[in-house]
Symmetry: C2
Subunit: 348 residues, 2 copies
Amino acid sequence: MSKTITLSIDAMGGDNAPDMVVEGMALALKDIPDLRFMLFGRSEKLIPLLEKFPEVAEACELRHADDVVSSSEKPGIALRSGRQSSMRLAINAVGSGEADGIVSAGNTGALMAMAKFVLKTLPGIDRPAIASLLPTIKGECVMLDMGANIQCDAENLVQFAVMGEVFARNVLHIPKPSIGILNVGTEVLKGNDSVKQAAVFLTETHLPIDFYGFVEGDDIGQGTVDVIVTDGFTGNIALKTIEGTARLFAGALRQELTRSWIGKIGALIAKQAINSFRTRFDPRRYNGAMFLGLGGICVKSHGGTDALGFCTAVKLTHELISDELNEGIKEDYARFISEHHDFSGSVD
Amino acid sequence: MSKTITLSIDAMGGDNAPDMVVEGMALALKDIPDLRFMLFGRSEKLIPLLEKFPEVAEACELRHADDVVSSSEKPGIALRSGRQSSMRLAINAVGSGEADGIVSAGNTGALMAMAKFVLKTLPGIDRPAIASLLPTIKGECVMLDMGANIQCDAENLVQFAVMGEVFARNVLHIPKPSIGILNVGTEVLKGNDSVKQAAVFLTETHLPIDFYGFVEGDDIGQGTVDVIVTDGFTGNIALKTIEGTARLFAGALRQELTRSWIGKIGALIAKQAINSFRTRFDPRRYNGAMFLGLGGICVKSHGGTDALGFCTAVKLTHELISDELNEGIKEDYARFISEHHDFSGSVD
């Protein structure tokens, strides 16, 4: 019998919180009936909601939190003044071991600052990274960092590569995931110093890592590699560029199909195909940015998502815990450090 | 009567050169019958091609060039050893004033190195930038730099902003184009030092520039601003991410529509709408990366394009010349420098 997993939930983060949060929990319970929750937020808002969703009430322990971290709050301020916020108390529950992981749709910067403060980083990791799953023509890939670290040196990128590799192996269940570093060309001489030095290290290392080399922006969607490593500035812009291009395409396709009655009829007949196309790229299916490298599992849901999107983030968090992601990172990292005493020296 | 424009053409650059080059010239002549060319390349290959396209032969002067710069040649080597190449001789024709601009589908790095060496940069411009037109839901926008400058300081970004503004006004004919700097968030405190300092300068300047502020990756496709300014590393990755996402979507839509006979029938009925959708995002319609900031007009066609794509690049080059882009940049830059003596100091 597998151990019951308890997730700590920040009920107050996100544009449509707490309604979409509790509804999302209800959806997740349908697929994972033995999931348990600790729900942090304003009880006067949450009690009526839990009455509407008795199955959630049944599976959850409500903990009142007075404060809410606003979406515009600066991380440093939130860290100092948000000690009684739903976000912070939800993270504390993971720190104390009461919960196995936390999900929040609140302020990303504040969540990272608080999670880093409470949960600390794993041994050997200097900076946690934000990882996201992305659709490819072959299936999906994982990309990191998506914005936690604006400037990264080669050592940070190598750490992201190791964490991404463990993630792809343990969570995506790819036996030997390939790793690529995002760059402006595939030749070894291309790019800035960080990517060049990280590539040299990953090429020469004896670690059991399948390093593909450099990949370009168009390799993301082609599924050229399983793990794409980049700094947080580039990663964030690439991710949002994908989202924007997806929206542009969907909008333009709709415009063209509804411009004439014959287009509308064709679309009606091909409805099922168009719907599967839509479902395949539904951003809610990819919701949940994972904070990798922390001493606890922490997932950030998109702030603008709905119940279905929040449910995806909850199920992803459950998966990270049951697949023992952090144990994998810890083990691999210990091996990595013991075998490569000269690591920092060789890439700086 | 407008002055006859002569374009210098590198016949040997690109995967399908010289066939697609000459065919592309023929297509361009249909729209611009008074266009004249100087064609550089191996005459033994070009003479039979010109026999096939007598209208091109009529409009063009053939100049034999023995050497071809290979697509894998390093820029520095190409600059030193490619003095008799079709690319270099084509650029020389602009430097000597025989031609008004040059188009090549060859090696980007070599083209930039040679063009910078022969044509020099415009007064006040430290580094030329590569600019591209991109489709948006509202129409199109221009983005720069697309890869000429891997690392950029605030001053470079400000120079790109001024060049992009002149381009959007003179070539896209937008009376007061809005300028945005690509960043990981829209708040002033976000991003790296270069983007933050450039934004401060563009906010405080008295230059007649409509500075919008920071934009994010998803703003590109939404057409939030007319000009998007970024460093060459981020710009190149964003551009290729857009291309990759477009290919992913087109491929997935095809997969879904051809999976069932009812999907196929629907697609057949909506064929015209699907075709206009395809045409709207046809990369050949956006072919032609413009090197801005040089003392001559230089356009790089995609190496993998066909005759239609090459024709777009030729027509774009013609437009940059007839719209007097470089005269605009020179004038604006002279004004910019005379009004802002403290420019470098204020952003460094």
